[in-house]
Amino acid sequence: MRDAPGAERITVRGLVQGVGFRPFVYLIAGKAGITGSVRNTGAGVEIDAFGTGAALTDFRNRLTGDAPPLARIDAIDAAPLGAPAPRDFSIELSTGGAVHAAATPDAALCDACRAELLDPGDRRHGYVFLNCTHCGPRFSILRALPYDRANTTMARFPMCPACRAEYRDVADRRFHAQPTACPECGPMLWAEHAGDATQREIGAGAIARAAECLSRGGIVALKGIGGFHLACDATDRSAIHLLRTRKRRPDKPFALMIRDLAATQAFVRVNDAEAAALVSPAAPIVLLDMLPGGPLPEGLAPGLNRLGIMLPYSPLHAMLMEAVDVPLVMTSGNPGGDPQVTTNAEARDRLADFADLFLMHDRDIANRVDDSLVQVTSGRARPLRRGRGLAPRPLPLPEGFGASHPQVIAFGGDIKNTFGLAKGGVAVLSQHIGDLSGLATEADFLRTLELFETLYGLSPAVIAADPHPGYRSRSLARDLASARGLPLVEVGHHHAHAAACMVEHGVPLDTAPVLAVVQDGIGIGEAGALWGCEVLHCDYRGAKRLATLRTAPLPGGDQAARQPWRNLLARLSQAGTRDSWPASLCERLRGQPTEPLIAAMASGLNTPASSSAGRLFDAVAAAAGLCVARQTYEGEAAMRLQAAAEGWLTRNVADPYHFEIVDRPDMIEVDPAPIWPRIAADLAQEEAPGAMAARFHAGWARIWAEVVTRLSTDTGCDTIFLSGGVFQNRLLSAMLAERLDGAGLTVRQHAEVPANDGGLALGQIAVALARYQTENRGG
C-alpha cells in the first residue's frame, strides 16, 4: 500500500526552549524520515514537517514519547501545510524576540555527564563545571534573554575549539549547551583558607583538601549552584555541634547530602515517589522518615522524625561526595538571617567566622536560588519551598484567563516572600526570596523583580499585594503602583491561599464558588481582622467566610508566634477563670510572666485577636510539653507536635479530642475550649506527649471534616480545596482528606506551589486578574 506524502506545521507549547528541544526534534526527524525545519517562537517551538503519513505519525509519537528530560509539553497542535518539501531537516537559529518560555530552572547533573566526570579517560574527568543540554546551571547564571552564553555568567569564558565543535554539532549532547566548558576553557575550582585568601589549592587537590577538612570535623563553605553552603560531616557529633554554635542555630533541622540513592537507605525510608523526587532534574531536598535507631547522631533534627535529604546535584557536589563518602550536612551559608551568600568576596567577608575552608570558583552566580524543599504525600511530591530546579518554571493559568489577559505583578507575602507575574496565559513565580524585613533580602527582591521584568518583557496593567499594613511587600507594591500609575489590588491573605490552590487545579475563571479550608498562621482577612483558620466559599473574585476558629488574643503580638506558652495562656484565659485552670497546665506556664499578660489581654494592650490555627497548634504543643518556652525556628512547635503524633500513631485514634461547634448567625465557629480538660486529664494520667498530639490531630481533622461536610450540603459544593501553611502538616492533611473522601467529597491539595505563603502570589495573580477583568468589563 502506498503512503501519500503529507506536510504539517506542528506547534509545541510548554517548556520547550533552552532544554535541547530543537536538536531532539532534529534527531527524531532523521529517525522518522521527516524533512523540514524547526524554530523557536514566542509561543514555543514550531516545526514544519514533510513526510509520508506513517512517517509523520511516527514523528509525532516520538515527539511526545521521547522528549528530552528537561522538557515539558503542554500542548501540540498540527495544521496542514501547503509548501514544497525540502530535501533535508534543518534547525533555524533563534532570532531573538519575545520568548516567554526561555528562563528555565537549573538542572541536576545528568547520568551521561556523571559518567564522563568519573571516567579517567574522558577529557572532562574530574572537571566540576561540565554540563550538557540536559543538565547544568541555567537560571542561576542567567543575566538576560535570550539564553545565550553571552547573557550568562559564562560569558567571560570563551570556548576552546573542542568545546566549540561540540556546541556546533547538532548530533552532540552539547549542541547549543550554553554553559558548556572543559578544563581548557572553563571556570576553575580552588580551596582557600578561611581568613587567608593567599593560602590556596587549585584544581583536583582542592576537593581533597575539603574532604580532609571535613574528615577532621571542620566546616567547609562551598559555592554551589544557587549560593554558598556550609557543610560538615553529618556523622560527626562534634562537627554538628560546632556548626550549630557558629551559626547560632540551636535546633533548626539541617539538610543532608548523601552520595546516591542507594546510600540513603541506611538512614531514611524512601518510597518510589520519594526516590523519583530525589533523582529528578530538580534534585530538591526531600523530607524523609528517619530510620528508627539509624546510624546518624542526634542533633540533626531535634524532636523531629524526618530528615531533609538531597543527592549531589552539581559535579562539584558529586566529586566531593565521592571523596568524603559520608553524608554531609549541607546548610545555607546565610549570616544573620540574611540571604544565602553568592559571591566569593561576600563569602570571605561574611562566612569566615563560620567556615574553616572555602571551596570556591570563578563562575559567578547571577541569581541566588535556595535549595527547593519537597515532601511526598498521597504519592505526590509537594513543594514546601520553590527554589533551585523548580523556579522559574511557568504554571499555566486556567481556562478563562486567556492568553490576552492583562499582565500582573503580584508581590506575594512577607516572610516566605515569593513574587509572581502573569503574562500570556501563564504565571511565573520567582524563586523563594525570604523574609523581606531583612534589607539584603529586600534588595534581592527588587533586583530579581527587575530581572523578571526584563526577562519576560513585562508591562503590567495591575499590581497585586497582600492587604497587611505592616508588610514590606505591600509598601513596595504601593510604591511601584503609584510610580507607574497602576491600580493596586489588595487580595485578602486567605482568599489568595485558596485561589492559589484553585489555579493549580485548573478551576476556570468563570466558575461557581467552591469551598476552601485555609489554615494558617496569621493573615489579614476582612476589615483588618487577623484570620488564620477559615472555611471560605469563594470564586476568584470574592470570598465569603462560612466557618472559623474561635478567636483568641495573641499576647504580645508576634511574641506569641515565638513563644508557644503565650497561646496556651490565651486559650486557657478564654476557656475559664484562672482558678478553673487545670494544675497540670498551670505547671506549663510556671515561671512565665502570666500576670501582666492576663492584664494586657483584659485591657487590649498589644494582644490582638486572631483565629490563627497555627497558634492553636502552638498552644497544644506547649500543653503537651513538646515546645513550651520558645520556638528557635518558625514552625518548630507544630513540627514537633506532628512528629510526636506520628511517632505514637497506630493508625486509628480511638479517642480524638472533642471541639465544640457553635452556630453563629453568620457562620460556624469552632471552639477548642473542651480540649484543655482532656489534655489536663491525659497529663494527669502521664500519657505520652505523642498520645495527646495524636488525639489533637485526630479531633481537629474530625471537627473540620464535620464542618466542611455540613457546609458542603448547604452550598452544594463537593470539591474542597485545602491551603495555608498548616496543611504542610502531612498528618493533618492526610487525616482530613481521608475523612472528606469518606464523606464523598473531592479533596484538592497543593502540588505545584507551597501551601504556605510561598504560594500566595499565584492566588493574588488570579484574584487580581479576575477583579480587574470584571471591573473593566462592567465599567
Binding site: P335, G413, A440, Q559
Partner: protein, 332 residues
C-alpha cells in the same frame, strides 16, 4: 470639682490654683494677653511650638501630666537650639477631678518650667462634664529664642555623622505601662521626663557643629531616625548591640511584645554630630544629670537613602520602618 451654671466661682478658684503656681507673670497679665519684650530674642530667630498632653495614668513614677506638658513643649524648643522664653498652659478638666490632684499638677508644671528656665505666662481653663474628657487634658505652647549663630536642622545631616543619644531608650513609655496597676508589673522604672535644655547647651558647647537634634517622644527613637533620614536624604544606620537599654525596659518590652525602638521617651534626644566632635559631645553629656548613659548608637551613611536601618545582633540588617498605626503581628 464641680461644673455648671454656678461654675464661675469655681473657675476662678481653678484659675487661682494656676496663678499661684505660675507666679507673678500671669497676675500682671491683667490684659487679655501676655506681653513680652522683643529684646528677649536678641536678633535671633523666634521658635514657636505647641502640643497637647493626654496620658493614663496622670501621675506616674518620675512625673505627671503637668511636668510632661511643660517638658514636652520645652524640649521641642530646645532641640532646635532655642532658649525657652515663655509657655502658655490650657487645661480641660473633667468634672470630678480632685482639687488636690490639680494642685499637684500645677505645682509640678511650675517646677518644671523653673527648671527649664522659662515662665508660664498665660493660659485658659475649661471644665467639662463627666465623660467628656478623661480627668485632665493639658495643652502648652511655647516660644523660645534661637541665637543667630545656630542652625540646627535635619537637612544638615550628612554621611559620616555619628548618631548619639543622651540616655537609655523607652523609659517613659515603659514606666507608664508598668505604672498602670492593672498590668501587675512591679518595677523601679521612672519616666525619663525632664527638660533637656541644659544637656542641649552642653552638647552644643562641646560639639558646635552638631547638625541636628530631635527629642524622641511618641514613636520613639525609630521615628526620629526616619525623620532624620528622610529630611537629609541619607540613611541612619544603628546597631542593635549598641542601643542603651535598661534591663527593666528590655523585660517589659519583651513581655508585652513591644519594640523599645518605638516606645515613647520624654527625656531623650537623638543628635547627629560630626564624627570628630563625638567624643567631646559624649564626654560633656555624661557629666550631666540625664546624660550619664549617653552613647553613640549608630552613624549616618549614604544609602539606602531616606531609610533607617538596624544591624541586628546576628549581623543582618533590617529596616527600621515608620509605624503605620499599631504594630500588627505579621508572622504567618
Amino acid at each position: 470639682l464641680a461644673h455648671g451654671a454656678g461654675g464661675r466661682a469655681m473657675r476662678d478658684l481653678i484659675d487661682e490654683i494656676f496663678l499661684k503656681a505660675f507666679g507673678e507673670t500671669r497676675v500682671s497679665g491683667l490684659e487679655d494677653q501676655a506681653r513680652l519684650a522683643l529684646d528677649a530674642f536678641g536678633g535671633g530667630t523666634l521658635a514657636f511650638t505647641t502640643d497637647s498632653f493626654v496620658i493614663d495614668p496622670i501621675f506616674f513614677p518620675g512625673g505627671d501630666i503637668g511636668k510632661l506638658a511643660v517638658c514636652g513643649t520645652v524640649n521641642d524648643l530646645v532641640v532646635g537650639g532655642a532658649k525657652p522664653v515663655a509657655l502658655t498652659c490650657s487645661v480641660i478638666i473633667e468634672e470630678g477631678l480632685a482639687f488636690a490632684d490639680l494642685h499637684r499638677i500645677a505645682e509640678s508644671m511650675a517646677t518644671a518650667a523653673a527648671e527649664a528656665g522659662c515662665r508660664i505666662v498665660t493660659g485658659d481653663t475649661k471644665v467639662v462634664p463627666r465623660g467628656a474628657a478623661d480627668r485632665i487634658f493639658v495643652n502648652t505652647a511655647g516660644i523660645g529664642a534661637i541665637p543667630a549663630d545656630r542652625s540646627l536642622a535635619a537637612r544638615h545631616i550628612r554621611p559620616g555623622d555619628a548618631l548619639i543619644v543622651n540616655t537609655t531608650l523607652g523609659e517613659h513609655g515603659a514606666a507608664v505601662m508598668a505604672a498602670r496597676g492593672d498590668l501587675g508589673l512591679t518595677s523601679a522604672l521612672q519616666s525619663d521626663c525632664r527638660p533637656l535644655g541644659e544637656l542641649v547647651e552642653a552638647l552644643l558647647e562641646a560639639a558646635p557643629d552638631t547638625r541636628a537634634i530631635r527629642d524622641a517622644t511618641r514613636g520613639g527613637v525609630a521615628t526620629v531616625l526616619n525623620e532624620f533620614a528622610a529630611a537629609s536624604g541619607t540613611c541612619c544606620r544603628i546597631a542593635e548591640d549598641k542601643l542603651p537599654l535598661r534591663e527593666e525596659v528590655r523585660g517589659i518590652s519583651e513581655i508585652l511584645g513591644l519594640d523599645p525602638l518605638y516606645i515613647a521617651c520624654e527625656g531623650l534626644f537623638v543628635a547627629a554630630v560630626p564624627q570628630a566632635q563625638t567624643e567631646a559631645a559624649l564626654a560633656a553629656l555624661r557629666k550631666r544629670s540625664g546624660g550619664e548613659a549617653a552613647c553613640q548608637i549608630g552613624e549616618v551613611v549614604a544609602t539606602p537613602q531616606g531609610r533607617a536601618v538596624m544591624t541586628s545582633f546576628f549581623g543582618g540588617d533590617r529596616l527600621v520602618d515608620m509605624l503605620e498605626g499599631e504594630q500588627l503581628p505579621r508572622i504567618c
